[in-house]
Symmetry: C2
């Protein structure tokens, strides 16, 4: 049966929804919630059926499709499509098996990931998959299989024989070293195409932060051009089709801030494998609010990353760093981007801890290649001589420079309740305040830390400033700042 496309002109998330008039649905014996396949020319797409009760909302003979479905099918208002009923994909049964505690083989992971990639699973089904992997965990073999399934359901890029990469598993507010390491490495003639996710549980991911300076939503062709020109890029991985299931899984992890180990490992390594990385540095910050809380946990993650690297044919170097407190002054996409630029520009008031950590990371990665003598000094020279800044500007221009963003409209300061020495600044509380303020969607939202661990303060001195574009959200942060102590002063 043929239907004429009606553009609903509305964007929705998750699986695609198609709307038919009640009368048409009845004729085809289709019900709300049924899965149907919509066939355009030449693409097809699985949608969940919704039913309109009136001819005004959806006339007979028409099918209502939303923005994402129209884009996926390359259709516009008035085009003709055919539809047919389809049952649940077999992968739903595999998800059920995992939820019952049965380990899955590669074939079943591939089916699940392939169906996620092609939007054939609903949010509910995807959520069960994430919950199942999270609560039952994944064996080493399952993590390798999940990684390979993610890679094999997407595109692979080839940037040459030696491709460097750097990744931080997060948990430390303001820890934006990637955006310094990339220009340092690239300024020395190495190839380092960096794809990043957006924030899952943190106030800002590298992609969110870089987006304050440059366009990060580049397609494959654009990325290749940027890397060819500059030797590097800093883009959002989700914009390409590299392990495309990853972002769709993150979409359902987000609402509960789930961050499962197996998925974390697969997610990181699949991205690296898809861009053909040969030398990878992974930073594991250690601290009470990071993924690795103890040296033992950090050693475990190190082992897992190295195991995966070995199975995928990559040289992987893992370093455990100090993740006990925020690094840099700014927390939130724009405020972190400003910190990064201050370091690259060698400004006097730039955050020194961020600079030193970036140099250490870059030096370690250079060392891993075996191609550079005195790697630490070389990295420092690139940064302090302005070479890295020059490279950063090249990358920004190649990706498409953003017009400078304004600081947030609203802000307030939080003051020291007593005099003393700051013995702790809690990453989790800082992240929570930033997220309630609107991070990462509100790029200008976040915190600016006037003081950090080790500083002495006098009662009434400002500890930090909270920013937001939304007065309501800023007011909500006051509940958090009152209830919890981001700073411990003794």
């Amino acid at each position: 049966m043929k239907f004429t496309v009606r553009d609903m002109d509305i964007a929705t998330g998750g699986i695609h929804i198609a709307i038919l008039n009640e009368h048409d649905a009845k004729l085809l014996d289709l019900h709300m919630g049924d899965r149907i396949i919509i066939k355009g020319h030449p693409r097809e797409l699985t949608c969940i059926l919704d039913v309109a009760k009136s001819h005004k909302a959806m006339p007979c003979g028409e099918i209502g499709l939303f923005e994402e479905a129209l884009a996926a099918l390359k259709l516009k208002q008035g085009d003709a499509v055919t539809i047919r009923f389809t049952g649940k994909p077999a992968s739903v049964e595999f998800i059920r098996e995992k939820l019952l505690g049965t380990p899955l083989p590669y074939r079943k992971f591939f089916e699940i990931i392939n169906d996620i990639t092609h939007d054939r699973l609903t949010d509910i089904e995807k959520t069960y998959f994430v919950a199942a992997c999270y609560t039952h965990g994944l064996s080493n073999k399952e993590i390798i299989d999940l990684t390979k399934a993610m890679v094999n359901t997407g595109d692979k890029l080839n940037f040459g024989k030696m491709v460097l990469d750097k990744h931080c598993i997060g948990g430390v507010a303001g820890n934006r070293t990637t955006m310094l390491v990339i220009p340092i490495i690239a300024s020395l003639g190495f190839t380092i195409p960096k794809t990043s996710s957006r924030a899952i549980t943190s106030p800002a991911g590298t992609a969110d932060t870089m987006e304050c300076l440059a366009n990060v939503e580049l397609n494959e062709k654009q990325i290749k051009a940027v890397v060819k020109k500059t030797g590097a890029c800093m883009v959002h991985g989700g914009a390409m089709s590299l392990a495309p299931a990853d972002d769709k899984i993150i979409d359902v992890e987000h609402p509960l801030s789930i961050d499962a180990e197996g998925q974390l490992l697969a997610s990181v390594m699949a991205k690296k494998y898809s861009v053909g990385s040969t030398h990878v540095l992974i930073d594991i910050p250690m601290g009470k609010s990071t993924k690795a809380k103890t040296p033992k946990e950090a050693a475990h993650l190190k082992e897992m990353f190295e195991m995966l690297g070995k199975h995928l044919g990559m040289k992987v170097k893992v370093i455990a760093s100090d993740g006990s407190h925020p690094i840099g002054y700014g927390i939130g996409p724009l405020l972190e981007a400003l910190d990064v630029m201050a370091v690259l520009e060698n400004k006097l008031d730039a955050p020194q801890e961020l600079k030193e950590k970036a140099i250490e990371m870059a030096g370690t990665l250079l060392e891993l290649t075996g191609k550079v003598k005195n790697p630490m000094q070389v990295a420092r020279h690139s940064l302090e001589s302005g070479q890295a800044l020059k490279k950063m500007n090249e990358i920004i221009d190649a990706q498409g420079r953003q017009k400078p963003m304004q600081k947030a409209k609203f802000h307030y300061q939080v003051f020291a309740p007593k005099s003393g020495k700051i013995i702790e600044v809690d990453n989790e509380t800082i992240a929570k305040i930033a997220r309630v303020a609107g991070c990462p969607t509100d790029k200008a939202a976040g915190l600016y830390l006037h003081k950090n661990v080790g500083s002495k303060v006098t009662k009434g001195e400002p500890l930090y400033t909270v920013y937001s574009q939304n007065k309501l959200k800023l007011d909500l942060t006051k509940v958090v700042t009152k209830e919890t102590n981001a700073y411990t002063i003794k």
Copy 2:
């Protein structure tokens, strides 16, 4: 800020969605996916924001709402509402705790169940709750707390001092004894108001089957009138506000056919407690495809139900029955309803096993009351004398008789591949075929079993007939009937 309601004239499931024009959303600094509270007069409702890109799809100053939200808010096109931003409810954090493996206290279950009742949680959040309870399990205390939370977030009914009830935990195809036990018990002057769920993993629930004969979607006032008139009812519990969260939880269990023990216990007992049941019979069929696969598992469930009964102040009797094979001839709402009526009408070709099981159940429940001598004989007499049929017709008329339904348009027969004795008929395969055929949504879909366990068959004799209103779905069942053997012949 005030908005004018636009009736989208479309029904959706799950949490409510509200649509604003992009321009209005920007003005209020609201983003797609934000939670907003819509305030009408006097009700308010939490919705998830969606954004329309054009004025045609949603003009500025208007807010698009779907059927369910309009019904919940008692609003119509053109009414004025105000909106405000709201953060995630605290219950999301409690769900996260449970997912991490932390047992929850009553207070947190109440918050979660209360938010589910009032549609303040998304499908993704509800799914994490179900998955967390399923994979980590629930302690006895948690099950009691969950049950109480379900009861206390809904209405409670009071039908008098002695209220009987009967429940089967399912797993056996065609096992429609409830619809026989209720009229038998009520014909003897007892009060037995039965509320049922719709099918979760089975081809038909009692509510789905009864709906082939009578209206089951009654409100509280209507149910009270039916029970006052007839001493009984057989209605869909979801139509009232008795433990209303239950059906909303089932909505997200459905896609993966999840049926978790803790939730099962809480679901059953909350419904019984809400209608003021004092004497409850619970049937636990035992077999390889039922919830209780072994006498040990049945004993465990028996203990759990009795423990809950004690804590909630109900007399609970649990019997483990033979659940090894389908009972009755029909599988699917209409075909099962026809079986029930054949037994009540004492037809010669009525399924005898269904009849005998119903008499045993009714007798056991009568015995539990301590008010009836020779309970088994009394139950049999009610059925064979036509008393139960008379009561059934009273109940049907009081609820609102359905016009007789037609058998399904399409069907085919499956024949014995060889001669021999039928040593097994697999409940799960039978249920799968029936569900692929369209059960329970398609009421006429299902199977009619010509032969059952113990019968001798000759090669080529019909074993069963598959029915469906949808040719496509009927064809899909052929894949299942080919790949799996519902019948084992030796």
